[in-house]
Symmetry: C2
Subunit: 346 residues, 2 copies
C-alpha cells in the first residue's frame, strides 16, 4: 500500500530509545511515494501510575484504526509483576487476535554467540499467541493461607491450533529446507499434546514436500544448544514458544538483535511488532541499548505490509553493520541507528 498509518508505543525504559531509532530507519528506507503517518501512544508504567489504566476499550478502538503497531518495551519495577504484562501486552495480543507470534533466529556472520564452534543457526519459531497457559484462566482459593490453591488452565482449541499450524506449514513450504518441527510435551500434557499432535499430523498430509518432526520441549532446549542447525521452522504453543525463543535469541546473537511480530494474518486487526527484549530499566536513558532488535522488527512490519524490498534492505543493512561491529569501538543507541539509517538510504 502507498501509505502506512503506524501506531507507535515506545513504552517503558529503553523502549523510548530503541523505538526512536526504529522510526529513523523506517523513514529512511521508505520510497518517496509511500506516505508514513505515525501517532504515538503513552501506554506503560507512566500512564498506569498517572491514571491507573493499562489499556481501555477506547484505546483499543483507536489502535485498531492503524495499519500496524510498533512497540518498544513495556514494564517497570515500580509496577507489580503481571499488571502491565496481563493488562497491556497480553490484552493487546488477545484483543487483536495476534495468533501468529513470529520469531526468527539467524546467527549472522561476525555476531558473537555463547556456543562453541561455528554453529549454523537460521530458523523461525511460529509461537501460538492467543491460547495455552496465557489465557488467564485459572484462579486462587484461600489466598495467603496455608491452604491456598492456585490453578492455571492451558486452553487449546482445534480452531486455534489448526490456524497456527497451517501458518507454520505454509512458511516451511516457502523456505528452501522445507522442514517443520512441532515442539510440545505430549507425553505428559496428553490432552493438549494429542490435540496438537493430531492437528499437526493431519495438516502435514496437505504438505507432502515438508519434512516433519516432533520434539519434546525439554529435548528441544538441548538441541538448541547442541545442534541448532537441525531447525528450520518450529511451531509450538504459547508458553513453550516464550521459553524457547528466549533461548533461541541467546544462542543467535542475544536479545539485542531478536525481533518479533505479533501477527493477525487475516488483517482483521493491526499486527504488532516488537523486540523480544524487555524494558531493561537498569540501562534506560543512557544510550546503551542496542536498537537492532527494534530495527529488525520494523523489517518484519514492512514485510507484513507487503514492502518486501524495503524489509530486505533493512535486514541487509543490519547484516552489514553486525559484520563490522567486532572492529568498531562501542557505539551508542543513536549511533547504531544512524549507521543503519545511512545504510538503508544508501
Amino acid at each position: 500500500s502507498r501509505s502506512i498509518n503506524l501506531a507507535v508505543i515506545p513504552g517503558d525504559g529503553i523502549g523510548q530509545e530503541v523505538v526512536a531509532e526504529g522510526l529513523k530507519v523506517l523513514s529512511a528506507v521508505l520510497p518517496q511515494d509511500v506516505k508514513l503517518e505515525t501517532k504515538e501512544y503513552d501506554f506503560g508504567a507512566r500512564r498506569y501510575h498517572a491514571t491507573g489504566e493499562t489499556l481501555t476499550d477506547a484505546d483499543l478502538e483507536r489502535l485498531r484504526q492503524h495499519d500496524a503497531i510498533l512497540l518498544g518495551a513495556i514494564g517497570d519495577p515500580s509496577v507489580p509483576s503481571g499488571v502491565l504484562e496481563r493488562g497491556f501486552l497480553l490484552k493487546l495480543r488477545f484483543a487483536f487476535d495476534h495468533h501468529v507470534n513470529l520469531r526468527p533466529s539467524k546467527l549472522l556472520p561476525g555476531v558473537a554467540t555463547p556456543l562453541a564452534g561455528d554453529p549454523q543457526i537460521d530458523f523461525v519459531v511460529v509461537r501460538e499467541g492467543t491460547e495455552g497457559p496465557y489465557t488467564g484462566n485459572g484462579g486462587t482459593i484461600r489466598k495467603g493461607t496455608e491452604h491456598e490453591v492456585a490453578t492455571e488452565v492451558s486452553v487449546n482449541t482445534a480452531y486455534g491450533v489448526e490456524r497456527v499450524v497451517r501458518d507454520a506449514f505454509a512458511r516451511a513450504q516457502a523456505r528452501p529446507r522445507k522442514k517443520l518441527t512441532l515442539v510440545h510435551k505430549n507425553n505428559v500434557l496428553t490432552f493438549a499434546g494429542h490435540l496438537w499432535t493430531n492437528v499437526f499430523n493431519r495438516v502435514a498430509e496437505e504438505y507432502p514436500e515438508v519434512t516433519t518432526e516432533y520434539i519434546h520441549v525439554d529435548a528441544a532446549t538441548i538441541y538448541l544448544v547442541t545442534q541448532p542447525e537441525r531447525f528450520d521452522v518450529i511451531v509450538t504453543d504459547n508458553l513453550f514458544g516464550d521459553i524457547i525463543t528466549d533461548l533461541a535469541a541467546a544462542v543467535s546473537g542475544g536479545i539485542g538483535v531478536a525481533a518479533s511480530g505479533n501477527i493477525n494474518p487475516s488483517g482483521a486487526f493491526p499486527s504488532m511488532f516488537e523486540p523480544v527484549h524487555g524494558s531493561a530499566p537498569d540501562i534506560a536513558g543512557q544510550g546503551k541499548a542496542d536498537p537492532t532488535a527494534t530495527v529488525l522488527s520494523v523489517a518484519l512490519l514492512l514485510r507484513h505490509l507487503g514492502h518486501e524490498a524495503e524489509a530486505t534492505r533493512i535486514e541487509d543493512a543490519v547484516s552489514a553493520d553486525l559484520a563490522e561491529r567486532g572492529a568498531l569501538p562501542a557505539r551508542s543507541t543513536s549511533e547504531i541507528g544512524d549507521a543503519l539509517r545511512v545504510r538503508v538510504a544508501g
Copy 2:
C-alpha cells in the same frame, strides 16, 4: 543403615545396560558390613505389551517395602506417547510423593560443553515433583472434531510449594555460596506465580544468610547459556524444572552424565534415583550408552540413605574418569562401568 534393600527397575532400551553398571559400582563401593539386597522388577514396555499393565496397586505395595529404587529408563516407540510416562513414571512419582526432584549440574574438568569459553557450572535444581501441570488434571471435549477443546490444569498448593521451597532453602544454606533462585513466570501465570513468589519470600525471612533472586523461566534459559555461574540452587515448578534441567544437563556435559533423585524427604515412601536421559532405543543393546549418569544417580541414592562417604567416593571416581576421557579411545558401557568400579574399590 547397615543394609540396603534396593528395588531395581532397568526398564527399556539402554536402561538395562546402564543399570547393570550402576549396580556394579554400587556393590564395589559399599563396605563389607553393609548388606545389599536387590530385587529386579520388569516394568516398562515389555510388561505393558505382555499384560497391558504399567504399574498396579500390588506393584506399588511391593516397591514400597524397599529402602530406595534405582531406575534405568522407561519408554519405547512401540508404546503410544504418554502411556508409560503417565502410567508408570509419573504414577510412581505421585504415589510415593516424590516432591523433591533433585538435579545437580556440575561441569567437571575435562568434560566437553557446547558453550564457548570456560564456563563455571555448579548448581543444583530443586524441581517440584508432584504438582503443577503434571497432575493430569484437564481434559478434552469434542475430541477429533474441529470443535475440540483440550485443557491442562496446573495445580499449585501452599502445602506443596512450601515444602519444596523449604527444602531448597535448606540446601542453599548448606552450600558455600548460599544463593537461591526462584524460577517461574509470575508475570503471566499470575495465580500460581503469586503463590510461588509469596511462599518463597515468606520462607526467605527464616534464612537471612541466603541470597535470593527471582528470574522468569524464559530469561533463565538465557542465563543458563550466557552466565551459568550465576546459579547456585534453583527452585522451580514441575514443568519449568523439566525444561531447564535438560538445558542444564546439555551445558554441563550432556545427558550422559546428568543424574537425578525423586526424593520423598520424610522417608514415608522410598525415593527413586534415575539418570535424566531416556531409553534411547536407537542405541540400545549396542554397548554405546554412557552409564555415568546412572552411576552418579547411585551416588545420590547413597547420600539419601546416609552413606555420604561412599557417595563422595563415587563422585570422585567419576570426576577422575571424566578428566581422562579426552585422552582415551571410546569405551563401551561396561568398560566405563568397570573403570569406575575399579576406582571406587581402589
